[in-house]
Symmetry: C2
Amino acid sequence: MTNFGKRPNLPEGIPSDQQRIAVEEWFVKLRDLLCSEMELLEEKQNSSNRLPGRFEKKPWNRLGGGGGVMSIMKGKVFEKVGVNVSTVYGDLSSEFAAKLPGTSKNTTFWASGISLVAHPYSPLVPAVHMNTRHIVTGANWFGGGADLTPTISNNADTALFHGALKEACDCHSSEYYERYKAWCDEYFFLPHRDEPRGVGGIFFDYVNTGDWKEDFMFVQDVGRAFLEVYPEIVKHHMEKSWSRQEREQQLIKRGRYVEFNLLHDRGTQFGLQTGGNIEAILMSMPPSAKWQ
Amino acid sequence: MTNFGKRPNLPEGIPSDQQRIAVEEWFVKLRDLLCSEMELLEEKQNSSNRLPGRFEKKPWNRLGGGGGVMSIMKGKVFEKVGVNVSTVYGDLSSEFAAKLPGTSKNTTFWASGISLVAHPYSPLVPAVHMNTRHIVTGANWFGGGADLTPTISNNADTALFHGALKEACDCHSSEYYERYKAWCDEYFFLPHRDEPRGVGGIFFDYVNTGDWKEDFMFVQDVGRAFLEVYPEIVKHHMEKSWSRQEREQQLIKRGRYVEFNLLHDRGTQFGLQTGGNIEAILMSMPPSAKWQ
């Protein structure tokens, strides 16, 4: 067991209003780019007769401060894909504040982020999760990551996905990829099943190098790498036919996904603890799942 | 918020070997009776062409001490029903021990119980949960309960179910039913959804009146009441046809069931904390579920 999850000591200091606006604007822009790419995949796919899906937007407000916009698409490539952008702020419960850096003087917080979870119809197209966020208490930091959850994994997809994230990491520090890959493997693990959730990716938190601009660039590069690589992986498999048995395997795998999200996921816990929008928090749930 | 969940002070004192054996034997006997009743319902049901289900038994051992037997049936009335009897013992983690009575001198425990979760095929037949248990640390107590989770609730079923449990309670104390009904309503509630899991029943814990025999009789009466009333409710609905829309509603309701079990259920937590058999702990998961 590493110290990955431990609350670090971060320097006090918060970003300016302009900086926060720039972060928010980036997350919204990335959302638009991602939604366009995924709608394009719906248009391009030929092997299904159904109509291509379109994202529907649903704004929501948070009691206590802030809100966000959920974009949900139920299509033919993507049985369900949700992209949520949100900026929330207010007061943390003292119990929860104690777990975060920068909360010794007061318990106010501001958090902006984007998260995406895609559950494709085809068991041959991997499910995926991506999230980046900026959190401000008395300190401030970036967090996020991306990880791939195939039903039937194959080395080519895994290499492509990891390669893209490594490239994004390497532009910023030669240490990032190894560290954040290891953290991802540790984090996306179901101890009660003694099995990983998927084939990993990267996971990072408490990123504050002292150079805010640089850290923000890193987070943007992770978003851009994801925007490139995931659609590419989808294209490789989206026209293939699959068997009923492969579909069953996918539904069981999705059950594991549910277990992870409800038993272990910190994003889910953060959302529930800060009274976020329940639909947005549980947007990551698969459209259907099975247990044996 | 009441004090229902609070750790009470219970008198020190543990039951004899004979007493423990009597408890274990009752749970096994109740298991056999329940399984027979449910197999009988499978035989009796006429409106489906499929073959009637039969329970399959699967023994398991617990690393650290004890084990149990899972009985699972996948039939035509019951899409999935699991009955688990177990007797486990050993050492509690100090963190978990701190939450239980009777652990100030040492952290050994012994626990025996039966739990049943039924997920019927038909959205018109309510899902149900029943559990009774005896736990021994330096102190000892009984716990358990039964609650009904219909997709489409109706007053007749609710009244029948509550009536049977009230009768069992009333034989032992005029206070039990109201208290344990309220505890059930409090416990089987999804705060993040602001909705109850089902239509309730009874939930009790830390039962130790000082008269062990009487407490054990109470737990037996709860089991017997359940054995009578649930099959009766199933019979009222099991031949009716249902619509696709009602089935969809059921799958969404099952999603809520999953959320409760993984986010809130103490039995699940106890199992995961004490390293129980993962298949047995998650036996309560529905065979299939959906999220919108």
